[in-house]
Symmetry: C2
Subunit: 170 residues, 2 copies
Amino acid sequence: MAGPLPLHEGISILEPLLGTWTGEGSGEYPTIPTFRFSETVTFGHVGKPFLAYHQATRELDETGEPGRPLHAESGYWRTPELGLAEIVLAHPTGITEVLEGFAAPNSAGETDTLIIDVRSSVIGRTTSAKEVQRTERTFEVTGDTLRYTMRMAAVGQPFQHHLAATLHRA
Amino acid sequence: MAGPLPLHEGISILEPLLGTWTGEGSGEYPTIPTFRFSETVTFGHVGKPFLAYHQATRELDETGEPGRPLHAESGYWRTPELGLAEIVLAHPTGITEVLEGFAAPNSAGETDTLIIDVRSSVIGRTTSAKEVQRTERTFEVTGDTLRYTMRMAAVGQPFQHHLAATLHRA
């Protein structure tokens, strides 16, 4: 979706996200075995005040070769006001998420970092989907490195760390 | 996303949707001028029991040339049980939808038709999004033609027809 169009000025703070990112991460939760995954994330735009977002992960075994598809999600990122971030997501597991929080640059270190921190305000689910009560995500973009962590309360478990990954701009 | 992988047998009823569709439609609502649009829809899969769905529309003027981007949406389609359909969507307008209903073949005519009819069970919205109270969609796939209609109650208006489009497999 990234094209010759200029990024809408209303989302200029999100510019460091644009492009395709690949890397690896790990996941853990009391109800499942700990797992590693390879991940690809894309952020595109069409000149309007949102980024289109798509993510997909694959199983990563001991050999480091990506295997069968694991999770995927897609949606849109918005910054309706300076400092505010809104993310809407759909998941193939039958879940939708509305996440709200902040997007802010952090220039304290040697390199500028964009931090986006959001938590769920509405979680929707289809009749057949598992229960997800609450989620939070933190993203940090420094140059060509994107790190994120994700925490959730789901299927009756207390709110806790679930995912962490480090991606690099492709 | 459509590849050499066989479609998961749990969603075989959705097979007629696979591929890329393009065409035109029109929209109307009491709060906006009636408009025409060009549309592209893709349905892909990765061998798991869901279809990945993406849709984008563009302005269509009197000359028939596609113009600036209008709406977009992305999400996933599921059929957790024979006859049941679940769709989860995210919209760049800050809206999420969980839609549930049925997917059923209709062999009454000369050509088999797949009908998918869903209505919203959960609608999520970010703080900055407009209010959407209720939505319904009906899709009919006959060979290489996909028709859909969409009805909604939004921004305080009564539930009513909003969109209709006819697409052809590209």
